[in-house]
Symmetry: C2
Amino acid sequence: MLSQKAKYALQALGLLTARYEKGPVLISEIADQKKIPIKFLENILLELKHADILESYRGRTGGYALKVHPKSVKLSQIIRIVNGPIAMLSCVSLNFYKACDNCTEQICKINPVMAEARDAVLKILDRRTLADIRDEEF
Amino acid sequence: MLSQKAKYALQALGLLTARYEKGPVLISEIADQKKIPIKFLENILLELKHADILESYRGRTGGYALKVHPKSVKLSQIIRIVNGPIAMLSCVSLNFYKACDNCTEQICKINPVMAEARDAVLKILDRRTLADIRDEEF
DNA sequence: ATAAAAGTCTATCAAATGACTAGACAATAA
DNA sequence: TTATTGTCTAGTCATTTGATAGACTTTTAT
């Protein structure tokens, strides 16, 4: 399951995508609309900024905005930033690989199944972008 | 990511599948072979017994054995027992559904993507059974 | 200038979860 | 009848997660 943080991140990005190229949005506005604790949201947005997904402006007319085109950001990328590995086992992770420490056997039958599962999810999450979770406008 | 517990469960089941219809296997033997802390493994096997996947025998010739045919146990089933939901969001879970509490919008764009992702994993995990992760024999 | 408004950053906290352990108990076969 | 095996409840300990506090910096409107 995705963490609450990851869910919040996706919700915030849905809003920011709808506002793409329409000027920065206040953290407080996002927090209000999406019912996210504001200080928690601050951390999340900052992390996404550090990952070059968002850009921010300070001062009176400040706020957050998408830094790149919505279609250029895969959902898999977002999830990796705010939630970590997508694979079910680290020994099968493409971006966070780590060998199993108790896997004595050369031939593990679990590994290939989990690799299949990983590919199946990635087939979805690599094809879907921020544009796909963009908030409807009113 | 699957918990350590889930990983241990799958490893233990790989061994028990190889021993299917060959009499009960000691917890201590499984723990040794798979390098799993024995008391932790006890809990896991007990849980799988309560879920009717395993059966156990006490006393001198005791131990654990698969209760049903390996091909009749889907990996998705095991994961749900020892790890919980397979879906990335509870609002998209088939077996552990729970509505989002901060989802004010009628139309959530995240939900359908996560449903797709869930279906993609399940396509693998519903088709694979214990027979697919059965330990090789020597 | 300067005050108000915005994001930045570090630190902290409580609660939940995860991984594991202890130990008394119950059943069974030799 | 006793050694061996599983049963079960409870507890510990470390880590992660979700959330908060508050001082600080930057920016803009006046």
